[in-house]
Amino acid sequence: MHWQTYFIEFSYLLASVLFILGLKGMSHPETAKKGMHMAEFGMLMAIIGTLMHFEIVSYTWIIAGLLVGSTLGAAMGVWVPMTAMPQRTALSHAFGAFAAALVGIAEYYSYTHGIKPIADLSHVTMSALGFEIMLGSLTTTGSLIAFGKLQGIVPGQPLVYRGQNIFNMSLLAVMIGLFVYLIFVPTAVIPFYAMLGLAFVFGVLLVMPIGSADMPVVMSLLNSYAGLAAAATGFVLGNKVLIIAGTLDGFSGFILSILMCRAMNRSITNVLFGAFGSASTATAQGEQGTMREVGMEDVAVQLAYASKVVFVPGYGLATAQAQHAVRELANVLEQRGVTVKYGIHPVAGRMPGHMNVLLAEANVPYSQLYELEQINPDLASTDVAVVIGANDVVNPDARDNPGSPIAGMPIIEVDRAKSVIVLKRGQGKGFSGLENPLFFKPVTGMLYGDAKDTLTKLVGAVQHA
């Protein structure tokens, strides 16, 4: 082995170590920044190392690609608003998976076009290659659909037709069949491209029947596929840092999707094939009493003279971009000596940690953000619980009504508070499409309007209260 090879290998080993350290840093906000810088340095080393690879004869295409990618990435990185994180994440999975797929295709191409000795295309290599290409391709199209649904380009509600699952399953079967065939006959070009095409199609069919509210789970699953595709690339190229990084990525996606499902008290299969949030399940049980609407002044006074207020943000906060407004209100209240806390449900909003990031963006110190388990015991002693564009995560049915579709999903029990104020625009349902008995409880007052406007108005009102 030449010294370059050692240098490259060393840079890869270093990168692997730094990636791991980087993710370890993520265990606490204090250490996270340093961790990321390590990871970035690791990435830099790996790239520098790779540029020394003896196979490289020309740098034109490489530099071109790096330039295009970096500018695109930097632009996205700087300009994408925090509220658009879900879409952005979905898109990036498409990119990542597509890159992996392309590498796989190029490899196969170079084997079948005599650029690399076809003899080296062993069964093992082919099976890894197959994994890489299948996962890569279906993740690419799947993530694009997910992106479309989250962005609202693609209709959000599940696209379902009878026999759908059977159809998809049989398609999958065909794809797998081709894959297995290829493992034994790696040189079969037509089956290869057929498999490739099917994978792209399958990605679409897999995601179309899933409602946009379930996209986060799907996204994380696709994330883990993208990771595994990268890992498979590592197997193909015998590149260990690829295996490690890919596996880490795959696992984070997998773990996050599990966490989400648990927080929604649903199984992955139910998410993937249940077509949740489709018209069928969205049957509202009609009014269960009357909602009590409250006036701005009234609420302002309640807040102003409360000693403890808990804000419970939800998806509505994100759509209304009301994070800064809520922070202003909190400031005003704190100046008046009110203790302010935020109760964050694990699946509030549309992606894990969504609310935390938005509030952090508005300079809410994370010491004020409380998880479900931490805030619930507090609520009994809370004077006013303000529900900001949240619905399902505060739906008492999940706790009280075993018949409810979300029965058993842990909720933030705002109804234990002395008074509950719900900010929403109207009679709109949450993603689950269920009626929310909370809104009909005597303790609850409804304050209608866009969350941002309402909160901004409240700031003024509280100041004059």
Partner: protein
């Protein structure tokens, strides 16, 4: 996946055996480590975590670079070029966003 590949190993007639076995060990260990490390990340940081892992998995860049540069004909080069572009978008975008997010998390005002 592990098992699947393991089974395939037995059907394999090539000499790439040892290398693949080494790769398998790396994969298995990385899997355990991934589980241990990721499961320690608090919900507070789940969104940054997503973009971080996303940036890290952009490491597939190293594969793309070689293909884009090894001059195995136009097709390979162009495929490589696109791959490099996609991967580096993730790397740069992912890290920039992660940093941006993390900078927002403060303990006290």
């Amino acid at each position: 996946m592990t098992l699947n590949i393991l089974i395939l190993l037995f059907s394999s007639g090539t000499m790439s055996g040892p290398a693949i076995i080494a790769a398998l060990y790396v994969f298995v260990l990385a899997a355990f480590l991934g589980y241990q490390v990721i499961s320690r990340v608090p919900p507070l940081l789940h969104t940054p975590l997503m973009s971080a892992t996303n940036a890290i998995s952009g490491i597939s860049l190293v594969g793309s670079i070689v293909i884009a540069g090894s001059g195995h004909g136009r097709v390979a080069s162009i495929l490589g070029f696109i791959a490099v572009a996609c991967a580096s978008t993730n790397v740069v975008g992912g890290f920039v966003i992660t940093d941006r997010m993390l900078r927002m998390f403060k303990r006290k005002k």
